[in-house]
């Protein structure tokens, strides 16, 4: 097992590991749930925003790397918690970092444009450029932004609003 001061350094280092896509730490994003140690090594519990998140492997590698930098050869066991990730898991600092990156977390009724704070926004689709996001447009400033999707708070846009015609 690591000495207390080394384990404290490791905790600090793991807390600085960022999401592979968005410049926000996994801790602030609510993905990093806990870090503990035992005779078997360091145990890290993570909760992905989506089970299909393609950044999961990268997150594990980054955590293993920072742990190895603190104590070379240390055994690191990373486990994924399959409980639903929730927007409430994100810290205030995480919310600010996400907003600055054009991503909001709010419940559908409370969505505000991250650029001009207008509530005059429209959800464009259920699914966005990545599986954890849904695209929005601000009717006031015209900006496009994303909302981080959660299975706890699914909002759907009816595709029926589209109109189709047959093309031969």
């Amino acid at each position: 097992m690591l000495r207390d001061d080394d384990f404290t350094r490791l905790l600090e280092a793991v807390a600085q590991v960022e999401d592979p896509e968005v410049p926000v730490t996994l801790k602030d994003l609510g993905v990093l749930q806990s870090v503990t140690q035992s005779e078997q090594g360091v145990h890290v519990l993570l909760r992905a925003t989506k089970i299909g998140c393609p950044g999961k492997t990268r997150m594990v590698k980054d955590i293993e790397t920072v742990c190895a930098n603190i104590s070379a050869g240390i055994q690191v066991n990373v486990e994924w918690d399959l409980s639903p990730w929730k927007p409430d898991d994100v810290s205030e600092m995480g919310r600010i970092a996400l907003r600055d990156f054009g991503i909001v977390l709010n419940a559908p009724a409370e969505i505000k444009c991250p650029y001009c704070s207008s509530r005059n926004t429209e959800m464009l689709s259920d699914y966005g450029g990545s599986i954890c996001k849904a695209p929005f447009r601000c009717a006031s400033c015209g900006s496009m932004f994303d909302r981080l999707r959660s299975v706890e708070n699914v909002q759907t846009v009816s595709v029926v609003k589209k109109s189709l015609k047959k093309v031969d």
């Binding site: 989506k50 089970i51 590698k61 399959l82 689709s125 699914y127 450029g129 299975v151 759907t156 047959k166």
Partner: protein, 231 residues
């Protein structure tokens, strides 16, 4: 109830559905749908992964299961092989397969508290996917000309859906429930149901499986033990 066999059979179906649906990401329907198909495919792959893990297949075992099994050892439902050229067929088969997947996951979740915890996210995503495909059926029904196509596609898919819930005692009640729910919902959506919801046995291998296996891309770990980690 053979929980492991049921979970692996569903995981296989989801894996194949991901492989055959994902090309629609670049087969233009509209931009939003392209993004949706990409996300749904990705989620199907992840759901398959969760089910393999639930069934006790570790990474190395999963690797062998996917990449080293001969075509004859795959027993996939017919509808898992999504149409490559007709969007109403895609919508119809995705609607039916997602209905079946959700019902199977619900049955697995009822086997233990641990199963409920492990599979609740899969179930929630399936419900969301089902909403998406249901909305597409409604959309295609709006236009009189396309209405004929989606009605035909649904009845064509139903004729191929007999092996969606495999034959066997474990699936009897599930098939009954699936058939009742699908029939009620399809008629409720205003579709004329002319095909019968009858069961049939799954075929082993076949050209579709061989083509899918041939198209699989392998990215291996430096140690060569697993095909899943590419970083």
């Amino acid at each position: 109830m053979n929980i492991q066999a049921i979970a692996i059979a569903l995981a296989d179906d989801l894996f194949v559905q991901c492989q055959t649906l994902s090309p629609w990401t670049v087969n233009y329907v509209d931009l939003e749908e392209s993004l949706a198909v990409g996300s749904i495919s990705q989620e199907l792959l992840a759901q398959g992964g969760v089910l393999y893990e639930f069934a006790g297949l570790a990474y190395a075992d999963r690797d062998k299961h996917i990449f080293q099994r001969s075509a004859a050892d795959w027993h996939v439902s017919s509808l898992s092989f999504v149409s490559v050229d007709h969007w109403p067929d895609v919508v119809a088969s995705a609607f039916l397969t997602t209905h079946a997947s959700r019902i199977i996951v619900e049955a697995l979740m009822q086997t233990s508290e641990s199963a409920r915890e492990q599979l609740s996210l899969v179930w929630r995503e399936q419900v969301h996917h089902l909403t998406h495909w249901r909305q597409w059926i409604s959309l295609l029904l709006v236009n009189p000309e396309i209405q004929i196509e989606i009605t035909t596609a649904i009845n064509r898919a139903i004729q191929k859906s007999g092996d969606l819930l495999p034959l066997g005692d474990d699936y009897d009640l599930l098939h009954q429930r699936w058939a009742e729910e699908v029939r009620t919902e399809i008629i409720g959506l205003g579709v004329s149901l002319t095909a019968d919801l009858e069961r049939s046995s799954r075929v082993s291998g076949g050209p579709s499986v061989e083509r899918m296996i041939k198209n699989l891309r392998v990215a291996r770990d430096p140690d060569g033990q697993s095909s899943y980690s590419i970083y």
